[in-house]
Amino acid sequence: MSEIVGIDLGTTNSLIGVMDAGFPILIANQEGSRLTPSVVYLPESGDPVVGAPADRMRALFPERTIYSVKRLMGRRPGESEKEDFPFAVKSQSGQMLLELGQRSFKPEEISSLVLKKLKADAELSLGNPIERAVITVPAYFNDLQRQATKRAGELAGFAVERMINEPTAAALAYGLNRLDDHSRIAVYDLGGGTFDISILELNEGVFRVLSTNGNTRLGGDDIDRELVRLLRERIIARHPELRQELDDKLFIARIREIGHAAKLRLSTEETVQVDIPFLSGDRSFPYHLTRQELEAIARPIVRRTRSHCLRSLDDAKLDPAKLDEVILVGGVTRMPIVRQFVAEIFQRLPNNTQNPDEAVAVGATIQAGMLSGQIQNVLLLDVTPLSLGIETFGGLMNVLIPRNSTIPCKAGELFTNAVANQSVVQIVVLQGERELAKDNWELGRFDLEFEPVSKGFARIGVQFEIDADGILHVLARDTRTGRQRLIELSSAVDVSDEAVEKMIAESLDHAFEDMADRLWTEAVLKSNELLPAVRSALTLVGDQIELDDRRKIHRLVNEVEVALKSREHHRLKKANAELDEGTQHLATLLIDRAMAEAARRKK
């Protein structure tokens, strides 16, 4: 049997490791680094370029250099929020495709190119072929995202022996030389594109995940994007004539590259001098970026991790005081603001003895060692991050396997015919935590066929099983005939392309008709919210601001009121925005007041 490698397939970087004489080691790539950028450059002719050489093409050929493809894995059209990739992403037959000239690629095809490079480099280094792998996935990946990752591994020529959740892998790396411990740890994993929080119990070699939560579209990429926006604004402020040039993809790619490098440096430095060369080449834009500025834009993004942490603590039935350790994983956790934030939530200083870039890959390698038998006396019990259920009457979701159930696990459900001679019933399979079926991910649907019998006599048992990779399998068994079959879920959005195009065309037509109306209504709603809010704010804290300031706010209120009569949505929108902006300090005063009041009451 050949060796099994462990692979961390990251949003920004990927790593590969192998067991060597009982120890997990990471393998350097051809360029001499253990970190391979998850970037693929696809030239118009010739072979794809992967890793660091491709990363260098990002600012030169932004339309042909694919990065952060992990954010598109297993994702369906319509789920997208603003992503603004410089390369073309389109939706077809219910999935996302990357378009490069005449060719189009599935996200997993791009990922497989990264995996192929890792495989080839490791084979060169080890001197023998590698066929089997453990690949990591974000703990909060749903079934579709996991399946796409598995396909990427298979396309790269691997037998995917196991997929392991990233925070769990990091916990393995942390806990392997503390096997005698009895402890509870939280793993806070903020990577380039995804956020996971997992809480585990370590007990004499048993690693049991108690709960996990996260967001598969939250990470360092979001900070980069905001940083690009900030730098663009600063340039426009100084060079308004460059507004056009600033929309150029090449230029944005360049700002992103420079901004990203500055972000990394600001983890250890207080201020960084950036120098952005203009496309025209004869001038450049020098700027002193401070850590404070970076933190101001990073704060709202980092804050979004808070509710996930609270949910996972709740689900594990623990309060922060009961945790022994909080471990940081992912490059973004090098930022001081993230460390402060984690310390606040968990009421302790996080443990940063682990290398945040390498812990996950080391853990994947340990899992590989467990599967090959090189590591013994370790038991890993992981969970499914999302509840699994089916749609029932009234469009509700009926949970069959609750979130945080240890995997593999199964649940059975018995279906019968509601009327005599009913021949078929359609089952919709869902994943998520919302009460209404439509608010959850639809994993797919299938038809159960009945024999023609009288009402309530047909009996088909369906078994839903989540395997150790977190992937769902559905098995149906006719209890009368004893026939059993594996069910293929058909994708929820397997509608023909023409149908989709027609839908889009119709909604566009419709949209143009009433676009102006809609914009106006939205603006009016906003005014109706704002005006009473400003009035009550003035009553509460109006006496704490300068007279001039009060006059200015009254003027802004007046402008909104006049605009409301004008029926010009541009004007109203502008007036709303100005009033919103002009009352920011009132908001701060109100919050201070509420905090003081709350503090007084607590005394």
């Binding site: 979004r304 159930s405 240890t406 150790a468 919210e529 704002l530 009550s536 919050i591």
Partner: protein
């Protein structure tokens, strides 16, 4: 029907100590480990653990095994009232803050912040009441656990009742907690 108690190697009882159960489960899981073909065995064991670890589903499974039927029990008027008041609290919080998101204007959020402390307290009260109730139900379950070995038949009604009530308490508790987290998100 599969006996999950037997699968875990433990006695059929209404109340089971958490640590004891965990150790029994881990012992069984370790014995299955490494045997790749036994993946379905592990799957069954995990399902057993999930069912037995939760007192509501544990009691239902127990009744099903013992009597072939786990139905029965009523919410009762006292509980009905409590659930009513919890529902009102949830609704009022949803109405007051449901339309707000982190993207709403700063002033709107600041104004909401003024009322948030009160809402938080209402939720806390609701949570406390539910927790107290859960605690009562679990201690009743503990008492019944004493009588169970001698005369399971006598416990049947009360157990069904407790299982039903626990199911509801758990559901409401998770709803209340989710609201608390959403309020946190806004600040």
């Amino acid at each position: 029907m599969i006996d999950y108690f037997a699968l875990l190697g433990i006695e059929r009882r209404p109340a089971i100590n958490e640590v004891f159960l965990r150790d029994a489960y881990v012992r069984q899981a370790e014995s299955l480990q490494g045997v790749q073909v036994e993946a379905s065995g592990l799957s069954l064991l995990n399902t057993a653990f999930r069912t037995i670890a939760n007192p509501a589903t544990r009691v239902q499974h127990l009744l099903q095994l013992q009597f072939g039927d786990a139905r029965g029990g009523q919410i009762g008027s006292e509980l009905g009232e409590l659930f009513g008041s919890v529902a009102v609290t949830l609704q009022s919080v949803d109405q007051e803050f449901g339309s707000l998101s982190a993207e709403s204007s700063a002033l709107l959020r600041a104004l909401a912040f003024q009322r948030m402390d009160a809402a938080r307290q209402r939720l806390q009260q609701a949570e406390n009441k539910l927790l107290a109730l859960e605690c009562n139900l679990l201690s009743e379950l503990g008492k019944l656990d004493g009588t169970w070995p001698e005369s399971p038949g006598c416990c049947r009604e009360s157990l069904a009742q407790i299982a039903l009530q626990l199911t509801f308490v758990q559901k409401w508790l998770s709803e209340v907690r989710e609201r608390k987290i959403r309020l946190e998100e806004l600040t």
